[in-house]
């Protein structure tokens, strides 16, 4: 009896081992095959620059990742830790300042909240200003006439294979972008924004990154992290109560290729947003007294903020243009902003 039992056990364990090894071999073979397949896909298809950009867009939204990047402008640079989560259509992001004073930025889809030192929270009041981006623009690609897209070979960055892409402006109203995209995921790992003279205005690159399968919501949700939203900052673009309720604004001059992309349902809206698909600028029109910005332009890296005081007849207002466009472009837009009276309003 015993010998039979022993024999059975031995046989069982033998079978077990055999099965395990077969599975292991099978899995690794399958995995190797998959790797080879994806590598050959990359080679065979020779993705165009446009394909890469589409891939980059998708990866930015739908990939779960955790990493640290360095963002520099001129002589200033900062190290930021980032977590990005995507789950069933909800995109969440958390950026943590690692240099200088502690500060965090949280994003949930299009809603952004800033947590500054002393738990001071800055959040745009969504009730007063609704910014529903026109769905046609959600996958907006820059037009060919505006930028020249090019692939520039592959490279190696933080231990990963990357594809180099250049997006070169074809007129003086936008900047040049150079991108390094992760070959495996399509995610942007490094980029520079250069002006027409080739000066680097902004430099961004990951120093480390990992792609976990899942991230918990607790890691990226400010409320769940215990952030007390005690203070809500007032919306920065206050309308002037003296203005007729229906007053709308428009920029009489726009650089080519930029289209208005915000669709505020509120009448008399005083924030305009324009984009060419890559570069975006926002125009704020406010009572001139409440606008503190200095006249003229101030530049932080690739971002310009241009303030222009205008007085026409009874109306005095301040126009602020902010975006990643050349300063001269911002100036020309700001100076062209004018009111459009709705019918029936005085």
């Amino acid at each position: 009896m015993r010998s039979k039992l022993v024999k059975r056990r031995r046989l069982a364990s033998l079978l077990c081992t055999a099965l395990c090894s077969i599975t292991l071999v099978g899995t690794s073979a399958a995995w190797a095959q998959q790797e080879a397949a994806s590598a050959s896909i990359m080679q065979d298809q020779q993705l165009s620059a446009k394909d890469w950009l589409a891939r980059m867009q998708k990866a930015a939204v739908e990939t779960n990742y955790r990493g640290t990047f360095v963002f520099s402008r001129g002589d200033m640079s900062s190290t930021v830790k980032i977590l990005h989560r995507y789950d069933q259509g909800l995109e969440q992001e958390r950026l943590t300042q690692l240099d200088g004073e502690m500060g965090e930025v949280f994003r949930s889809n299009a809603e952004v909240m800033c947590v500054l030192p002393n738990n001071r929270v800055v959040k745009v009041d969504q009730d007063k200003f609704s910014n529903r981006v026109v769905s046609a623009f959600s996958d907006f690609m820059p037009k060919h006439a505006l930028y020249a897209l090019e692939t520039n070979g592959s490279d190696r960055l933080i231990g990963r294979s990357v594809q180099r892409i250049s997006v070169k402006a074809q007129d003086p109203h936008r900047f040049n972008y150079y991108l390094w995209l992760d070959q495996a995921t399509g995610l942007l790992l490094k980029s520079t924004v250069n002006d027409v003279d080739g000066r680097v205005l902004e430099h961004f690159h990951y120093s480390s990154i990992e792609f976990p399968e899942t991230l918990t919501e607790a890691e990226v949700n400010p409320i769940k992290l215990g952030v007390q939203v005690k203070q809500k900052m007032l919306p920065s673009a206050q309308k002037d109560r003296r203005w007729p309720g229906e007053i709308n604004w428009r920029a009489a001059w726009l650089p080519e290729g930029y289209e208005r992309i915000n669709q505020s349902s509120q009448a008399g809206q005083n924030v305009l947003v324009y984009s060419d698909g890559l570069a975006t600028f926002s125009v704020f029109v406010e009572p001139v007294e409440s606008n503190l910005m200095p006249q003229g332009a101030s530049i932080v890296g690739a971002t310009v903020v241009y303030f222009h005081k205008v007085m026409t007849g009874e109306h005095h207002y301040g126009v602020t243009v902010l975006g990643e466009v050349p300063a001269k472009t911002a100036m020309m837009v700001a100076e062209s902003v004018q009111p459009l009276m709705a019918a029936g309003a005085k």
């Binding site: 002589d75 900062s78 300042q97 745009v124 961004f204």
Partner: protein, 210 residues
Amino acid sequence: MDDRLKESISALVDDEANELEVQRVLNSRDEDLAETWMRYHQIRDVIRSSDPEIMAIDIRDSLALELADIDDLDALGEPGTVNLDGAGEQKARPAALAPFKRSRVAGFVGIAASGVLALFLATQFQQSLQREHAQEQLAQTSELEQNSALELAALNTDESRDPVVIHEFNEEQAKRFNEYLLRHAEHSSFGLGRGVMPLARVASVNSVGI
């Protein structure tokens, strides 16, 4: 500038100056002091063969041409040493070369060579002085820039429109800028603007205490 001062400068360049000479140079108010100092250093560098650019110059051809122009070396008058004063351009002509007889061309060439070299150095020095001035100004400007929280950029336009004016923010303005930037980041969260860049801009602004 008298010879004594020149000698003191030269000694200082070679680390052979005594106390008195050091004092003489340091207390000198001579306006050519800086120029001479630079030039002596350049000459020292050449002699020590530390500048590959200068060492690569072969003056044999041009020297041969110069010598060919001098029909009668004897008629040039008394021999003299090559003068390395600031106006080197004028002095380094064939006539300034020591007028030896043709039979002493070998030794003559040595001095001639240094004469042509002096010409080269004088021109180079003028150029490098200009470059240094420009660099100094740039360095001063970039120091200022580093001190302010936000980068100041000078803009030039190629058209007749006035260039935009640049400002630094005070604390209130910086806070307002941050608010605008936040809202703008929301606007940018679409299309190719998707991804971390708009938020990185907001986050990095916070890092400088705004």
